[in-house]
Point group: C2
Chain length 873, copies 2
């Protein structure tokens, strides 16, 4: 028979999957002989069984719970419901991964109308007894029965008003009795029955409530944001109550074994005498620093210090400890690895290695790669945020903090920059490729529409610019240049601040702090480099981005998008001429204008990336993206191009597509207009020849996008090779180059064995591959994916975290087929997923050679790549 | 060593792959002892080797050709280039599958300045000799050297003018000598060298030219349109020349062993004395009926009759025979299975079974399923088409013929129909779902934009309505209600005619003939039913379509799209109210109005489909398709709905999608608006309960579209099952129903094992599956797929013929995974491919249970399904 219930003394810290983090650590501490209030844990398997059985606790589990309860009662020497010697318990959730505050807790369980009197007599403190009972009624009613907490609070407030007092503690035992009467009457009114008096029923219902709370909305959202699977369930801990509010020799507190903000090796914590955990949270009294305990209660302090040190060295990590002192006796209520800032995480990891507590590899596993993000972007000073109230909240699309004056069009932003404005926030309904210049000069980008992978979000992350997207509360009037939110109106030039790490928008100027990379960081990440086998490249389109990435440790460019090279002011005109050309000759003439400019771009990038491989993706977006959409802009362009407006409009209408994502783009453009691919080949090869003349050894990797078929790839490759070989022969110099393809269309993955006969490398474009495998448009999914999260259909955003089941199976198929044909084929990933730790682990498992991500995610990828090696041994 | 060259006497009819159709049949006739001019065949493998070697004929092949030439010279007793006894040959292409007129031919090869004199002497006919030589110069220059034929024709015309004569035969031998001189001078001017005098060089260059012609543009297009692979190459036949123009005892002709129009068992053919094949084609003299030969040359006639009978019984099929009589001696130049009309094909097949020549299974293999199409739609009388000149040409999107008056909007068409107009052609830039009513009342649909799978094409095929799409030559002004083409203007009400089988558009009224299904057809197709194992269902949305399909032999509905049920006038208003609703209650109220109307639709369909399964697909298109796009229509709707225009515009803008194909549609709508799926469930279940009360046994199959994930499917299935089970229980009756899904998203195929845990059937939606697997929008691909065909990247339209490599591999994966989980799972296909013979064969191989296609393709599918069984034994 499956064992669903474990006494604390039966478990240990290794059983987190089964007992949850809290339960496993309570068991471990019990095993260490620490003073832990006794109890038992109902396992996570009982929780999943609860859901499987249709939300009931099966009889065999009930029996095991009752047996564990009896065993605990025996240890404690008290009995649940025994008026003479009552046993009171807490019922707490505890999942494998900590989800603080997300699930439910019931305290003081076991009280009823008779037990309360026994407790009053036993403690000699009737006020305490009735207060505990009314707290229990309130908590049980709220958590288990779904009666709104506020209704109880109102009754309590009324009583205080009636009695002319301000805080709860001023109410007498009789007052509390009266409050209790009212609470029970409210319960009866709401539920049509008396408050349950049977402590076992109270217990079972509370356990069910904790199970249910696994699936409440905030828990689901928390799991999605923190990559926690939805099917692992929570354990439930039933534990003897201890009281920190039984007088001045009682108290409660929390402590960290090291400073969680800085990592400094010094116990840090606070406590409050004659109080319960709730009171600390309520903030009515100010807690004292933990050092003070030494003065007031040196024995307990010494005992606590000893335990804290024992726990840290036992767990090999900084601990976050909760404790209670009941009438001078210390009880440990919880220990866990403490949450910490990114800086502290690095310092603690490095210190623990220096102290000989951790090996380098163990240290590597202690830092969450996603945390490093915070180290790589400006932030707001925490002190500044104290008083700042957000005016709105959107999606945390690109991390960092920005403060600046708002502008509503890319042109206005660019003009303001030319006029010397240096703190600019671009505010748009949504951005488009035309906005690129305005985005470049901005410190932050705020959009009303679009998700985490909208144009604004993707481009901002690529540039390392702070971005908040999908901020639907904003009512933006781009025409008249203002936005309103919550009744306030912000004109062009108003100051606002964005926190791209939280999605919060502030209506004022907030100072930012520049990122600091300490020596610990460099040392720590060098350990990761020793371990990892995946190379880390970057997605960079400019020499600036490339230089940033190299600074952060990039070992090459995995994706250099060339479309931005067409958008810059000095070439967009020529490219539009090419689009509007009627003949091949006109097209070639227009392209000839662009070629030397692109060549210079490539030369600059090759110089920065000296010695590292550079993968250049040929033109990808559909041509209509290069033409204006608004009437006014169309008229302006027509005038500039000296053609009738109607002709330009006809061309725009001709290029219009129903589903541009599935339209005339990528290598399909090269099939229709071979001259574009030829021009780009010339620019790349000439640049490489020029730079190599100066002593470098650039080996450009030309990447053909959106390939779905071998013959299609061959056609474009042939254009490249014919052009390149002729140029190289004419130059008299030697130049190696490679031609490969993106694998971003399902059919390319399915026919990778054929494509690999010609392609020298594959780069998985998992953004598009995800779109097509799911049949899901990134640009449109934001509108309905929330329904999918709310209804528990999707647990995570497939554009943020690679879907291993569907998209992943295509990647694996392509890896297998590709290597069958060409064992030495180079395999990488250049989608957004290349900077996501979970996706990086998948890439490692799938056997890729490298991941490529935005410059600001390179250190994250280095760490995640090292962790993948260790985790998958 | 590979044998690349076969003497006719070395081959046989079974060697078509290697010798091509013509070569294999010449060999077969040689083997039968028939009078075939002697010669040899260079194989198709030599052709593919020619391409592989970089367009040269390798030395070993040249040697084999020379050896075969010597052997042939020995048999004939003449030598190539021998003035005294010259050997002249024809060089003809001949692929495995006949591609009439697509590739090149050279006649009279072997003539040069000296041989021509020998020929003149030998025949005693200098005019004949010089005429043959100048024909050869012209043909060789054109076919082999690429000099425009018209330049030679101009020289010949000049000579006739100079001599004051009208036809070639009036020119004398000396005139021909002079023409020849001018021809050779032209050759020298164009090529910078003399006309080649070495007959062996003439021969090798001509063989190369035939190889090259395999890849000319018209051959590529022909192959694509006829599903012929592009890599099989052509053979080349080198054959002794025989002359039908050597006097009144010579002649040439063609004959069919049965009537190719009606199938009647009677030799039918025509001949011309003193003429060559070219002269018959030129049409200057009228050929005589073959019977006449009996009078003028009874011996030859008797010999020919005997041979014709021998060939038909030898080949077990109606033969198309070419012959030449040279000075009273009969020569057989070609025999092949004759092309025939659909009616003739059926009659011949049935007759041959009755005559005991064929088994039923052999007969089944003799009819091309695609040909049956012609039997199922109205056609133009061939006599009428003789004088009619098309004004434009588009894509043959939906077969049949239609004649009618043009209307430019769906509303105008509907109004005209109400006013009693019964012959309507709807002319649109492109159609949208809003046009459905206007399309229903039209005899034909003509669009300027869109491909073979555009909205217009798909809907028209579904309705069996003639449609020509993508007719870009048309300049349509929908606003002012006219179109122009080739300088002509057609106003509303003008008569035009469409041929949906050829894509031709005529500028006048042409009478049509209704389809006739003869007794032979019924008998023939019943044989197919005995053999096939695939069930054939239909895609039908209305009782009318369903009835048509049943008449054509459908065994159920594989796809009943419900969106059309929302578009009809009495419900679109309620559905728009639902879209514009602000609350769940408003939405439910609006849906409640639609429910009884949909129920009636289902009842009517269930009644027609008595006893057959009906698969109902729940709402699929995105909601914005149900709202108007044009300013005017928006204002009208706002007024009708009594809401501000701005509110309606805001909603439309809110629903706008970048890539609607990958957007908020299919089951995603049911996730956001469960009430829609619930309403549709109610309508289906209630209809089934009602119809079953009358004694039927309807088992509705509810199909959830666009599923990509098990949890997603489960969510919607749960809505359906909860609603349905409650209704069935309340009714007190018994009702079985199934819930299954479309497999149309790659991820669904890749996770089919999971989805099959809940889905009771899969229906492959290969339209969308192809779009997503290729990353290719059906609506947009038309603009650039022509480049793909022209550059030989794609050989066929993946939306017309299922891509076995990519899409097919996903289908096979889903079949395997689905059956692993649920061995009894029902598997079908409901994309456009379900009516395409090649795709049906794939479905058979993949192990599907049924195919579903438009009503008018049901007989085609029945035949194709039977052929699949026989072919794959």
């Amino acid at each position: 028979m499956t064992k669903y219930v474990y006494l604390f003394k039966e478990g240990n810290a290794g059983m987190k999957d089964l007992l949850g983090g809290k339960g496993a650590n309570l068991a471990e501490m019990t095993g260490l002989g620490l003073p832990v209030p006794r109890g038992f844990t109902v396992t996570t398997e009982a929780c999943t069984r609860y859901y499987k059985d249709g939300r009931i606790i099966a009889d065999d589990i009930v029996a095991q719970i009752e047996k564990a309860l009896e065993a605990t009662e025996e240890m404690v020497g008290k009995k649940l419901g025994d008026q003479a010697n009552p046993f009171l318990v807490s019922v707490r959730s505890g999942a494998k991964v900590s989800m603080p505050g997300m699930m439910d807790t019931v305290l003081n369980l076991g009280l009823n109308d008779t037990v309360v009197e026994g407790l009053a007599k036993l403690t000699g403190n009737p006020r305490f007894a009735y207060d505990s009972y009314r707290r229990f009624v309130q908590m049980f009613s709220d958590v288990v029965m779904g009666i709104e907490k506020s209704k109880f609070e109102r009754l309590l407030d009324n009583m205080k008003e009636e009695k002319g007092v301000h805080i709860d503690t001023e109410l007498t035992a009789d007052d509390m009795k009266e409050v209790l009467r009212k609470f029970k009457a409210l319960y009866k009114k709401e539920k049509g029955e008396d408050f349950p008096q049977d402590p076992k029923k109270q217990l079972m219902e509370s356990i069910k409530a904790v199970f249910r709370s696994w699936d409440n909305e905030r828990a689901i959202i928390y799991r999605r944001l923190n990559d926690i699977p939805g099917d692992i369930g929570t354990a439930v801990n039933i534990q003897e109550m201890v009281y920190g509010n039984m007088g001045e020799d009682s108290g409660t507190g929390v402590a960290f074994t090291r400073n969680p903000s800085t990592g400094e090796k010094k116990l840090m914590g606070e406590f409050l005498m004659n109080a319960q955990g709730e009171d600390v949270v309520a903030g009515i009294r100010t807690p004292q620093e933990i050092d003070k305990l030494k003065e007031t209660n040196p024995a307990v302090y010494a005992q606590f210090m000893e335990i804290a040190e024992k726990l840290e060295s036992h767990y090999h990590d900084m601990q976050d400890i909760e404790f209670t002192i009941e009438k001078g006796k210390l009880f440990m209520l919880q220990t866990r690895n403490g949450k910490r800032t990114a800086n502290a995480a690095l310092k603690i990891a490095v210190d623990l290695v220096r102290e000989g507590v951790l090996t380098k590899e163990e240290a590597i596993m202690k830092v969450d790669p996603r945390q490093l993000d915070a180290l790589l972007h400006p932030t707001f000073a925490p002190s500044m945020l104290k008083d700042a109230r957000p005016i709105a909240s959107g999606l945390p699309a690109s991390p960092g903090a920005a403060t600046g004056q708002v502008y509503f069009t890319a042109d206005d932003a660019a003009n303001a920059f030319e006029d010397g404005v240096r703190n600019i926030i671009l505010v748009r309904l949504e951005t488009s490729p035309e906005d690129i210049e305005g985005m470049h000069v901005s410190q932050g980008i705020l959009t009303a529409r679009g998700g985490m992978t909208s144009h604004a979000a993707v481009v901002a992350r690529g540039m390392g610019t702070c971005c908040v997207s999908g901020c639907g509360e904003l009512k933006i009037n781009e025409e008249e240049k203002f936005f309103t939110v919550g009744g306030h109106r912000f004109e062009e030039g108003s100051w606002i601040s964005l926190d791209g790490s939280t999605g919060k928008v502030y209506g004022s100027k907030l100072p930012t702090i520049d990122p600091e990379v300490t020596g610990d960081f460099a040392e720590f990440i060098s350990w990761a480099d020793e371990i990892r086998t995946l190379k880390v490249r970057t997605n960079a389109d400019t020499p600036q981005d490339s230089a940033t990435a190299v600074k952060f440790g990039a070992e090459g460019i995995g994706l250099c998008r060339t479309e931005h090279m067409f958008f810059e002011a000095d070439r967009i005109r020529a490219f539009r001429k090419m689009i509007l050309a009627e003949t091949l000759e006109q097209r070639e003439a227009a392209l000839a204008e662009i070629e030397p400019l692109q060549r210079k771009d490539f030369e600059a990038i090759f110089k920065v990336m000296k010695g590292f491989p550079v993968t250049i993706r040929f033109l990808d977006p559909p041509l209509h993206e290069f033409l204006p959409k608004e009437k006014e802009d169309i008229e302006e362009l027509a005038a500039e191009m000296k053609i009738p407006v109607s002709q330009l409009e006809a061309k725009i209408s001709d290029l219009h597509e129903q589903n541009p994502m599935l339209g005339h783009r990528g290598c399909r453009l090269a099939v229709t207009y071979p001259e574009i691919a030829i021009m780009q080949t010339k620019a790349v090869i000439k640049a490489a020849l020029n730079v190599n003349k100066e002593g470098d050894t650039v080996v450009p990797e030309i990447m053909i996008p959106l390939v779905g078929d071998l013959v299609e790839f061959k056609y474009v490759k042939n254009l490249v090779v014919t052009t390149a070989d002729e140029m190289i022969a004419a130059s008299g110099d030697d130049l190696k180059y490679m031609v490969g393809t993106m694998i971003e269309i399902p059919r390319a993955a399915l026919t990778a064995d054929e494509i690999a006969t010609e392609a020298e490398f594959f780069s998985f474009g998992t953004n598009d591959l995800t779109q097509m495998t799911y049949g899901l448009s990134r640009d449109d999914a934001g509108k309905f994916l929330d329904d999918y999260y709310a209804k528990k259909i999707y647990e995570s955003d497939p554009f943020a975290r690679l879907d291993r089941k569907g998209v992943g199976s295509l990647v694996k198929t392509a890896v297998r087929l590709g290597r069958e044909t060409r064992p030495e084929i180079k395999l990488g990933i250049c989608g957004e997923h290349g900077g996501d730790p979970s996706s990086i682990e998948f890439c490692y498992q799938a056997g890729l050679n490298y991941v490529s991500c935005s410059p600001y995610r390179v250190p994250i990828a280095r760490l995640a790549a090292a962790q993948s090696v260790i985790k998958n041994r």
